[in-house]
Point group: none
Chain length 205, copies 4
């Protein structure tokens, strides 16, 4: 039922690349539509591609979902770790943290309806781990490569703490998306999340 390989064949030619892109874009659009119409045939049709071609590049329906999820969420993870691993001297810890949170919010912000549908679709197809994995990886990354405190010491963060902190933040963001909350764009929302994030670092005291 689960597809381990995302792509059936690596598309080499320009034409093939265009097809894959069209398929993913079509998938995103249909997801955005919101009606329960996310079928392989519908995706192919919207992509202007035959259903046969679709199956040339994706072994099954889930593969499309996974590919789309990776595309949509990859920025997110890297943006956060990038922000956190910045080592420019002038950059205060507080500021770096805020930037990371901001990157995270922005990552989740765009194409909100698509993301909501994507999350639902992933879960509906038994691929919820596909959602938690990147979060966990980011967390591991942060833990092993944590930003130094002003004192220069590396904070010792317990696994539980890390778990709760990451899930709390991502869970809040996910809830905001799923409930189509208008908070998500506001500065107060960012403030609250930053405050939440401090929990992570303050726990080492």
């Amino acid at each position: 039922m689960k597809s381990t390989d995302t792509y059936r064949k690596i598309p080499r030619q320009a034409r093939a690349l265009a097809s894959v892109d069209a398929i993913l874009e079509a998938a995103a659009q249909i997801l955005q539509g919101g009606d329960g119409r996310f079928t392989t045939n519908a995706v192919a049709e919207r992509a202007g591609v035959s259903i046969g071609t679709l199956y040339q590049y994706f072994p099954d329906k889930n593969a499309i979902l996974i590919a789309l999820a990776r595309q949509e969420l990859s920025l997110t993870g890297s943006a956060v770790t990038d922000s956190l691993s910045q080592r420019e001297t002038g950059c205060e810890l507080d500021e770096r943290l805020r930037l990371a949170i901001r990157a995270l919010i922005e990552g989740f912000h765009g194409r909100q309806r698509t993301r909501k549908a994507l999350i639902e679709a992933l879960i509906a197809n038994g691929l919820s781990e596909e959602l938690t994995r990147p979060v966990d990886e980011a967390m591991q990354d942060i833990l092993s490569n944590a930003p130094r405190l002003p004192s220069g010491t590396i904070p010792k963060v317990r696994p539980v703490t890390a778990f709760v902190a990451t899930r709390a933040i991502v869970g809040t963001l996910r809830a905001a998306i799923m409930e189509e909350s208008s908070f998500i764009g506001s500065p107060e929302f960012e403030d609250e999340l930053v405050r939440l994030a401090h929990t992570l670092l303050d726990s080492s005291h």
Copy 2:
């Protein structure tokens, strides 16, 4: 698309009540099974009841899911608000908060696999709001009936803060369940959540 009424007819005879219970129990078991076998026919069969009987009490498939969700999660919400609204003199704020968190964790704790599957099924069937609603109601409840601070003043909690706080806690719990994390039973987990919860009350400073 959505089923507003959970039950089609109120069961009067003992026989009927037994049927409804059997159906819900069968639903829980099948969900627990984890295969994508949650079909009305499968539920009826496992309940030892005909498909017709099933539909005598539930207007459609979703209604079963909703009824099960309410049964499984109702304790949760009320347990929390009960804990929070305790006004025994000797009971410190900290203690009350901890009790509320504990109630929440315990509500989510039992039958973990069933709950995970239930959550997935609710989302897969477009009923994700059924998950957020009780949380939101609890939040409203807390907001309008907040525990007094030691000083005797009622803390003014902004909506954003309340939103973030509730979603952070529930999001963490949900993640713990979905990832089948072993943290969920540990005291440290509870500690971390309590610390998180303080964020809500401390925001009025």
Copy 3:
């Protein structure tokens, strides 16, 4: 599939009669409603009677339909033949014919929606002969007991002619009902049908 006996048991007690009446009335009402909700359970419920009781008096669903059809259409046939067989001297043939047509129209006129639904239901349940039979019987009746012409001779009407004449008239009425035509109440409509009926008698020239 077809029910030859309309009633399972002849209701003797007042209570039983009331039940039967209630059931037929409920059936008529539901038919009138027009939504495809004509189910035995729905009829029983509307009649304020249990489904078991319904089956005490009607062997199957079709029996209800047939009983209702006979009740609704019996007047029609007899009214026509009554009109046609009047032998009062002062009554001109033309006048008698008009009265017969009028009786027919009036028979079809009331409870138009119910009749339409009844016709549809009868056909849908393979009971279309239940509709044609009374017409045919009336025709036989007329043929063997035709009104005398002014000259005192009995007109010789060929079977084909009788067939066409009766079907033309009833067919027109039925169409008017099925199409919910507003013509059905107008005097011109009556005039036209009378003219049509003359075909029958004039054919013997």
Copy 4:
């Protein structure tokens, strides 16, 4: 409830056309069979086609019925109007009328059992208007394009008259089919209908 579009997709390949034909032919045969077995699965099976293929070309069960009805009755309407609109000089009015009636009868004549079942099926599925529509259109056509009288004047036919005339004729034909009457093939039957039809034209006197 009603299917406005008869076809879901227009068949392009020869294979597809063959499928559609097979489905319609199978539908006709099953209808002819007379058992209440007109199910989509039965049609597909008899057509030697998978149920999926059936639904590729027909949006729902009713669409099959409608398509079949149009195929079976289309000739009818056009044949009549063709006959009526003939303007060859040598052709008398009487003759043209007779030809029209003959076309109508022939249209209804063939495959009598299929037609009976088709009519029943249309009505049973709430598509009775599908039966009256072509008649009404033909009537409108005749009204606006009536054959000239010998005198050269265009007869003014009142709507009621047209209604009664068309319904009388079609109603008679329908009755003949539904009752499986043997009259339908006889010359006398045609004569009677022609006489009936004269009613329409003679009404302008």
